[in-house]
Amino acid sequence: MAEPKTTFEFALAALGDDEGDVSLSDFRKEVAAVEAALEAVDEDLHGRPQVDWIVKDLHHSQPTLQLAGYPLADASSGDGAAERVLATFFGGLEGLARGQDNGQLGNAALTAVKKLAEPVGRTLKKASLIWEESAVAVDIEFRAALAKVQFLTEARPEDWEGMLEEVNVHVVKPTFRLYPAAGPRWITCEFDRSDLEKVRAAITKKVFVEGRALYRPQARFPHRIIVDTLNTVTGDPDDLIRLGGASPSEDHLEKLASARHDWH
């Protein structure tokens, strides 16, 4: 494994007399939040994760992790993926520390940053993140700034399809998760309670939804859809394999090429 060009450091400080007495629960949650944020940024930038984060060093007096990013085995984004992830992550964090949403972080990364800040002021004094010249303290001031941020979203009328799962009716606006075969891992879909029976009947089926798709700035996929209409995708998925050569023609490729040529 080649030496990475860059590493970053992540340290935790507990509230109370001894900053080193971080609870196992906080340590686990904070590491999970940083991991989720890095993976989300990686996916936002590259379509799918390209970087494997390796623990290069551990300090115990004050819980500190030093992490380095290496390309995953199937990475396709070329050199510098870890640096791009860290530059975006720290850029977004620095904006949030000033109470500003500069749009660099997608919805999943923002959710992870909010989780990172959750224990701060309760059981944790701060989480410090340092990369090259950038240093961000997720402390009580950061939490206060984060609470004031006006998060940017754009709404676009779109349709998406995927598997309907995980219906949640224990909220003001009921939701389900839409799992597309490609693209975002899932999209949270908000629907009208009057459609609940229709949604229940479609659980674990492939559906087609139309509505207002909410995007973070620069996101390639929406993180939420306010559903107007929902329909189950019809058709026999096993039919396709039987249709090879079922309707022969000699000029189909030429027709398509000609149609595309007309677009020039």
Partner: protein
């Protein structure tokens, strides 16, 4: 956060058309037959653009073609991808890049057609590793998706090959 992802491929419209229209290549683990077989056995995930619906029905408007399209779309491992803003922005970037190449070098091929640019852009935005396409029937002076492989615009990795250049034995589960 480690491990490898499932192989995800992009199907150009001409591959879908060819599956239904070409009797000679409907069996085996290579070519279009092998590719469709790998998708139908859930060995591969596939992405197709929403504009493929328009294109398949424009070029082969019969009930069999429509059955093939609805069957493809009904599969859980197939994503029909819409022409979203991200796709259109990338398609414009592709067209502009290759037009600039043509402007600088009049002997270069013409920029890809808008549908070709949309197909390649969709494959990139949905992070497909391989795009399968044909270039039969194209004029030699026009840039086809196959000409853009393996680095679209010299910076986006995407292997674009003909189905007969693929070997799908490992994916036909």
């Amino acid at each position: 956060m480690t491990g490898t992802s499932r192989e995800r491929v992009y199907l150009d419209t001409n591959v879908i058309l060819d599956w239904v229209a070409r009797r000679s290549d409907s069996k085996g683990s290579t070519g279009v037959g092998g590719l469709i077989g790998a998708i139908c056995s859930n060995g591969l995930d596939a992405v197709v653009s929403d504009i493929a619906r328009l294109e398949v029905m424009e070029c082969k408007a019969d009930p069999t073609m429509w059955r093939a399209w609805t069957s493809l779309r009904a599969r859980r491992n197939v994503q029909v991808a819409g022409c979203t803003r991200a796709v259109m922005d990338r398609a414009a970037e592709i067209r502009n890049h290759y037009q600039a190449v043509k402007d600088a070098d009049p002997s270069a091929k013409r920029a890809p057609s808008t549908p070709d640019a949309i197909h390649v852009a969709t494959a990139l935005i949905f992070d497909c590793q391989t795009m399968y396409s044909f270039d039969e029937g194209r004029k030699a002076k026009d840039l086809s998706p196959l000409d853009m492989s393996p680095l679209v615009m010299g910076k986006y990795p995407l292997k674009i090959i003909r189905p007969d250049q693929g070997d799908f034995a490992a994916f036909n589960l």
